[in-house]
């Protein structure tokens, strides 16, 4: 069987394209970095891929709201093609700047196949600044998200200035009731952060770190799973290594690497 083809966007200030492509490759995918303009001018067609990745970065400098201009450009030139891609069974992930782009495009939350309405937003962190730190994430086991199958907890880095998940109360309720909230910021034991800083690093409502559409095939999250592609990326790996050497604990940290998310997406097509 041919390998699952993954299109990883690049260009215009995106900057996590290399490691995202690498993480998909580790997961068994056939990942290709494609410049946004190659999609727009038609030299590359998304129809020949199964997975589309909107990656982290500062597209167009993010000067007018993170992901805003990327969404405008993608929507203007590829709006219909993106929706067709999803409707035909394609899988989409948006990480950090990519998540911001997906919500600005309206591809998320995607209630009832409405992929055009902007209903949620990622706004400036409550702490007032860009922040790089690791967070614990609790996975919603009832979510239809194809990326998080069989996962329970994750530890991943966040690196953003605009990651506070915001929506009107009605939208939040609907997201929760539909089980579209995929990831929540949590304390180290997996219990909800309940807005506590820095476990919830940005003040996200309901501790929301990632959501998916109703099909579970469109997924957006603020943390960076592609940056946990090697055991040595974990902030405490040297500690776990030392405990492991003394047979007091396994050699590695307790939760799976971020690459597990990509593996699930690739496996979605192969099994």
């Amino acid at each position: 069987m041919s390998r699952v083809r993954v299109l990883v966007l690049t260009g215009y200030g995106l900057n996590c394209d290399h490691e995202t492509a690498y993480a998909f490759t580790l997961a068994g995918g056939d990942a290709e970095r494609v410049h946004i303009n190659d999609l727009i001018d038609g030299s590359v067609s998304i129809g020949t891929y199964q997975i589309l990745a909107f990656v982290g970065g500062f597209s167009w400098g993010d000067d007018h709201g993170a992901g805003v201009i990327q969404a405008v450009r993608m929507g203007t030139h590829l709006g219909d093609a993106l929706i067709e891609f999803i409707e035909k069974g394609g899988v989409v992930i948006g990480i950090c700047n990519g998540f911001q782009t997906l919500v600005n495009l309206g591809l998320l939350p995607g209630f009832g196949h409405d992929y055009r309405s902007r209903l949620v937003a990622l706004v400036g962190n409550d702490c007032g600044n860009f922040r790089d730190d690791w967070v614990t994430l609790k996975v919603n086991p009832r979510s239809p998200c194809v990326f998080t199958r069989d996962l329970n907890c994750l530890e991943l880095p966040v690196r953003h200035g605009e990651g506070k998940f915001y929506a009107e109360p009605g939208t939040l309720v609907r997201l929760i009731e539909n089980e579209q909230v995929v990831l929540r910021y949590a304390l180290s034991d997996g219990s909800p952060a309940q807005g506590r800083f820095p476990e919830n690093p940005n003040g996200s409502l309901e501790d929301i770190a990632g959501v998916c559409d109703a099909t579970g095939r469109v997924f957006g999250l603020m943390p960076h799973p592609e940056a946990y592609n090697h055991p040595g990326n974990h902030p405490q790996w040297t500690y776990f290594k030392e405990l492991g050497k003394r047979k007091r604990a396994p050699l590695h940290p307790p939760f799976p690497m971020g690459t597990a998310l990509f593996k699930n997406a690739v496996d979605f097509f192969t099994r």
């Binding site: 200030g13 996590c16 190659d38 982290g56 167009w60 805003v68 450009r73 007032g128 940056a227 030392e242």
Partner: protein
Amino acid sequence: MPHRLEIALRSDLRDPEGETIGKKARDYFGIRLDSVRVVHVLTLDADLSKKQLDRIKDEIFTNPVTQVASYRPLPIPFDWVIWVGYRPGVRDNPGSTAVEAIEDVLGQVFKAEQSVYTSKRYCLSGPRLTRPEAERIAAELLANDIIQQWKLFSRETWDEEIGIGWILPKVVLDHEPTVTIIPIDSDAALEAISRKRNLALNPKDIPIIRAYFLSAQVRAERAAKGLSDPTDVEIEYISQARSDHCNHNTFRGLFRYTDLSTGKKEVVDNLFKTCIEAPTLSLMQKKPWVKSVLWDNAGVGRFNDKFHYVITGETHNSPSNMEAYGGALTGIVGIYRDPMGTGKGSKLIMGSYGYCVGHRDYNGDLRPRLHPRRLLDGVIEGVRDGGNKSGIPTPFGQVFFHPGYMGKCLVFVTALGLMPREVHGTPGEKKTITPGDLVIMCGGRVGKDGIHGVTASSESFSEHTPAGHVQIGDPYTQKKMHDFLLEARDAGLIRFITDNGGGGLSSSVGESARFSGGCKIELEKVPLKYAGLDQWEIWVSESQERMTVAVRPEDLERFLALSRKHAVESTVIGRYTDTGKLHITYEDKTCAYVDLDLLTSGFPQWTFDAEWIPPRHRGLVEPVLKEPGNLSALLFDLVARPNICSKEWIARQYDHEVQGTSILKPLVGRERDVPGDAAVIRPDLESREGLAFAQALLPTYSQIDAHAMTACVIDEAVRRVLAVGGTLDHMGGVDNFCWPDIRYHPLENPDGKFKAAQLVRSCKALKEMCLAFEIPLLSGKDSMYVDGHLAGRYGETHKVSALETLQFSATSVIDDVDKCVTMDAKVPGDLVYAVGVTRDELGASEYYAHLGYIGLNVPRVTPRDLIPVYRALEQTISEGLAASVHGIYRGGLGVHLALCAMAGCLGMEIDLRKVPVDGAARNDTILFSESAGRFILTVDPGNRAAFEAHFGGLPHACIGRILPETAFKVLGLDGRIRLEADVLDLKAAWKRPFGGLI
């Protein structure tokens, strides 16, 4: 007619940007505000229909979930409104991306005279807020008048229809580009021109320049091109190339060194050649991993079978001192172009920072342009945006506070890149140019930016005068260019590449033309930001985000197609030749025609008198100090000192894991909050190899002797890299000197000769250490004149000179990142070892500084004794025998034991009687001496024998053990507990000083 769009968050949402301003107003000035709301303003200077305006508002700039927007002033309550916008010609990055978005949505291109300007309106609420308070917030927090203009409105002066009014910071030069002929009738005439035009020509260079232009052969050749006396383009070119910045005249100077205590004299001819170039060349013979040094924009070392790494570092002090944010941003984005322009081009993989500033809480009489607190805020933010928006991790950095940096701050920026060993079958680090190759300028456009700062600052500002001398970097444009150039490189399209930094085209084209032996440039082809620049301005402008590339004519079409795909502007501006001439025309008329080798021949060397007075003869002595009875209180106070305490707030603002390469992060330990010894990245995601990197700064040691300062700085950088798993077999270095003026003047610089002697001593120490530790200097830079004149209380001014400062960076390649170690204590019951000898070396230590002393006994470095210890440490780490390793740096053993305990959130019991000492006979000396060459290790008791076997005959001792609870206990020389604290309390004290900052 212009249109003004105001955008704000909905009133029921928190405004974190506004809250941060409110917090700073309270913390910095004691001004209490009820609320601050920020309105983002876009002024569209373009003819647009109502329908188009609505699309712009609704489809691009307003988030329907969170924002409100209007082309009329938004009705947001306030007591005062402060409007802040850019001055004309200042880089407005959001304005440019707004134009891109509007063009995309409307499907039409803006005309040259159309533009978008961004600004902000701050709505301040506070019923008792006075006008002077609002003015203070505007001038000292929100706006910097060098690049920005501001206006204040009270409720009474605010017009709900007109709002902020109409301010279009458009550059209108209304000037016909003109080449001016420079008279060279006499030395005095040229000197007068030099002064008038701020060329800073060295008086000794003037006769050489005149002789060239007066020679009969030169005049005959020039006459054939329609030229006689030199043009301003030519004189500006020569002045740029001969500047200390470009030519390193100080380091290449002749130093007459005298030791005033012995009368012994010595002549040091050319510090660069003797102390930097010679040792590096000799080490290259022994170190085949050194691939390219001393000629390109950055040095190149081997990383693995597939890649080389690239490193360089520099400072951006003067611009940051004027405009902290823009200066630092331009600095980091600028240094990132150096690896891009090394060999055939490198991918950026890491950046780092070093800030030396006055104390954040300074409240004395001196009035620097920017208060150190504001300056540091701005510098941090500049490097944050420059690094984060470039997608380059910033996993290492340091800050040093000292009043000497009030005159001028230091902003060190360092960049590392990765290049393939082979590009299209040729070595990645090599490049060349063949006559006929095209000269291409890529990236940003040219404006009046950075044209010798001083000239611009002496012009009076008018409404449309570009504020040229301070720039704002544009990481977005540069990131696009970076991605484009790497793709062009891999397609084999780049023959030669270099960056446009200081000196602009004058320097990049002037220097690259030497590879082919000449060039012919058509200046009118250079794309400009606005019309009206003189030819010389186009030639020397330092407008940012530009690279100069040599491309074969047959590759041009592919190169330009790739450039278009990446939305990067590339323009052919001329051709490389082999005529031996730098030939510049403007609309077919020659405006420069000079021999390229003019700059390399005949100019006189600078000379300096250097007089060394040893510290004892300067009256420095050890303080008469009896041992403190309360060592616990002392430790609590030491860990809370600004140069020791936690600066987590800075590290967290920097993305240190983009690219997915992070192995050892800036903050380590159980709670991820204690700085590690060095950063490690795994830049080739498909390999196990890691690159370790660290830097050190110890400027206070220069108060005693810059030789000791230099040796200790290098030793610290080396130990940092060794502590995480690096090796002396591969230890690369980068030297960054920042020195006060060393030119003696009886009134202006009476101690210039001493500072010159300090420089000579520092360079000698650099040479000694590099040879002893076998560290080739992969790159380095010097920044002289770190002095400032500050106004005082009575209208007098004070010259404030920085401490003689060297930042040293060290790199090492680790064959398997799995071997890396961190400094946090890990397992209760582990043995704590001290490695290395503690001496009575408290001179210029943090402990003495805390008590108000300098002292005399500055730490000395004896590599011969240290190298066997370092080798044993390498073995220990490589065999996995150490659970943690940490160097002992500023603050000494006591402070660094505490840091290991804090990082592990575990206690420690230490017996000072066991610490290997030589002459250190008191508890305080052992705890706080800053002797070089020492480490703290924790070791599994099961590994004790194997560990000790490596250190047989070397200074080491088991001095204690890790406790399961968080007690930190130190037994003194009398065997009694002399220091007792809870590790968590210590940690709280260490975090407190800057703990409220985010």
